[in-house]
Amino acid sequence: MNTIRQVFRSAKFVTGFVIFIAIILLTILFPLFITYDPLDVVGNGNFYPPGTYISQKDTIKANPYELRIALKQSNVGDSLKTDELDKIKEWLTQYGGMGKSEVQDADAESLIVMWTDKYNPSKRFRGMLASEQKYYKRLNQKLTELLTDKDIIIAEQDENNELKEKSKVKSSDFVNLKEISNKRTLVLGTDNFGRDVLRELVSATTTSLRIGLIAGVVATAIGLTLGLLAGYLGGFIDDLILFITNLFTVIPSFVLLILISYSVGQKQRGVGLVALIIGITSWTWTTRAVRSQVISLRNRDHVNLSKLSGHSSFKIIMTDILPYIASYVVMAFILQVSSGILSEAQLSMLGLGPATTSTATLGLMMNWAMLYSAHLNGSWWAYFPVLFMIAMISFSLNLMNTGLDQVFNPQLRD
């Protein structure tokens, strides 16, 4: 009880603990409020940027309010595509007599100013393909329409298939967002499959935490058992276990992880199995720590007393040894959880992650983003939140671990 109070006095531990609990609460509470399927395909294309999406039809149907607000011209620039802007740049340098440097870094707005200044639709340009001449004419048309405050006419088809004007949208017309029923805020946009990244992230965090937890439990169980056996029994068994532990410490666990994951085959690799594989390749640290602690405990007075009183080895281990190494085991466990989550992410990046279409993991999200080149086309929302989540989880766990370490090994205190 006293130790627990001491642990919670460590600023590092408390910070880590608070962050970790916040993440856990997020994974529990978020799905209660946002109930749709995390892997629901929301968008019909890849990587929609974050923002609020409102139904275009609804805005047209909605009741217009006339507001006297000067409209921002930059809207014009936004409605131009990048290739259109590139074309404008090309024209300006070739025919508009502008320098390359002037054009290169100019924003859409100033490009349009330059364009209206230089371009003359009735003029023909020498050495330009006819199709390109037409393209520039169309582009100019579009720009003029965007620039002039022309009303947009909404027309309906009547029974004779003729368009009949229904209403006009003036540039001073606004709609009230509250009156629009069909809207969706995608805080973190969508991923390559068109799924809501935020919702997916929360569900992936849950799964990854579960993987870390299973891996941690498995690794700690193996490590604890082997460490106790080696440390308490000593002799040949100790030599043997130490030998095996040393082997698996030096052979990179990463390599074993890949070999085993590959060998079990794509179809068998579920979330649970991946967690299990991570667990059985990462127990060596715990074994070492537990073994050395048990060896130092083995000849303590209270253990000898128990031995003399004829207690069974099992009972001695449970009552006279385990409580003393509990802090080390807990610390090792915390590290295992954090490294388990990281291992899953790395495996998934290599394409050896859980083969599942029903749940996402943090690693799989990274893998998908990578496969669809999110990192090359600037869709930061597809991977930064995932990275942040991985870093936060392992940051909080490591802080907790450092805090514990300082409480239990006071000479490390600063």
Partner: protein, 334 residues
């Protein structure tokens, strides 16, 4: 035999045994899975192959390689013998290129990237950690939390962040590959410049990740040493602080060297994955291609090479350590 000889002999022997064990695992793991390995793996391999003759050939090659009708130890000896001669089989995904040929180039890229990056990251991290431990006030308060957080960003994460900032946003460095895609490797000035430019982001992403963890480890080691009895004693003999700091850092460095040996495998694993982010032509990217292409011979060769590299690096570190730390020599004397 003197203490050093005994120590080195023991270490080398131990690493040989470990390597042998790793080789056995490499051989055995895929074969331990249920089902007929030849049919299973060959079926996976020939999945995308439309040419039936090629598929047949692959199957036969596999059956021969595995030698399923022979006892296990014969299979192993044959496999190991081939591997020793540098014959690691033929790649499935890049058929008929031999695996050894693919690996030869990717191994060079990986070694040139990771060896300097990990070493420099380790050195810088230790220096920063030592400074943080010594200066403590202020400096320690800012630097430490920053490094604590940075050290928790996985290597591939650091890779993505650097890529986004310095390649996509600022356009200072190219985003992928080991050299310009329009170049053919040669010793021209353009090519070398391109290689250097492509080297920067993968290199720094590994360096930064390594720095964080090392700095934290070094800091706590140095703090531990600063509280050691010999520091107090040296102070009370009037020895100058500058000298004492030198003792402390030398001693704090020693466990960091063992730490390097212990975590080298993990560090390389992380660095291999960050290669993928940059499509760097090293083993990491090759390995991902092998997994994607269900190319078992290539994957198993990759893991074997990684193991070998980690083991050799570990051995070198441990031998250096034995030379530096007098305690090792002393412990071998009795």
């Amino acid at each position: 035999m003197n203490g050093y000889g005994k120590y080195f002999g023991k270490k080398i022997g131990w690493y040989l045994v470990t390597f042998l064990f790793a080789v056995v695992l490499n051989f055995a793991l895929p074969r331990m899975m249920p089902g007929d390995p030849v049919a299973g793996i060959a079926a996976q391999t020939t999945q995308g192959v439309t040419n039936t003759a090629a598929a047949e050939k692959i199957y036969k090659e596999y059956a021969e390689k595995f030698g399923v009708d022979k006892p296990v130890y014969v299979q192993f000896l044959k496999w190991a013998g081939n591997a020793l001669r540098g014959d690691l089989g033929v790649s499935f995904s890049q058929y008929p290129r031999p695996v050894a040929d693919i690996l030869k180039s990717s191994m060079g890229w990986t070694l040139c990237l990771q060896l300097p990056a990990i070493l420099i990251g380790w050195l810088l991290g230790n220096m920063l950690g030592a400074i943080a431990a010594y200066v403590k006030k202020g400096f320690d308060k800012i630097i430490l939390p920053v490094f604590l957080f940075i050290s928790n960003i996985p290597a591939f994460g650091m890779a993505v962040i650097l890529l986004f900032i310095f390649s996509l946003r600022l356009g200072w460095f190219p985003s992928s590959g080991g050299y310009g895609y329009d170049l053919i490797p040669n010793f021209s000035w353009t090519f070398i410049r391109s290689v250097v430019a492509h080297y920067q982001l993968p290199f720094w992403s590994i360096v930064l990740t390594t720095i964080g963890a090392q700095a934290i480890g070094m800091r706590s080691m140095a703090i531990y040493e600063l509280n050691a009895d010999y520091v107090k004693y040296s102070r009370f003999l009037g020895i100058h602080d500058r000298k004492i700091v030198r003792y402390v850092f030398r001693n704090a460095m020693l466990p960091q060297i063992t730490g390097l040996a212990m975590s080298l495998g993990t560090m390389m694993g992380g660095a291999l994955v960050s290669e993928i982010v940059f499509s760097y032509p090293g083993i990491g990217t090759t390995m991902m291609a092998a997994i994607k292409g269900q190319d078992y011979p290539l994957l198993s060769a990759c893991t074997l090479i990684i193991t070998l590299m980690v083991l050799v690096a570990n051995l070198v570190v441990e031998i250096l350590y034995g030379l530096i730390d007098p305690r090792i020599k002393a412990s071998q004397m009795d």
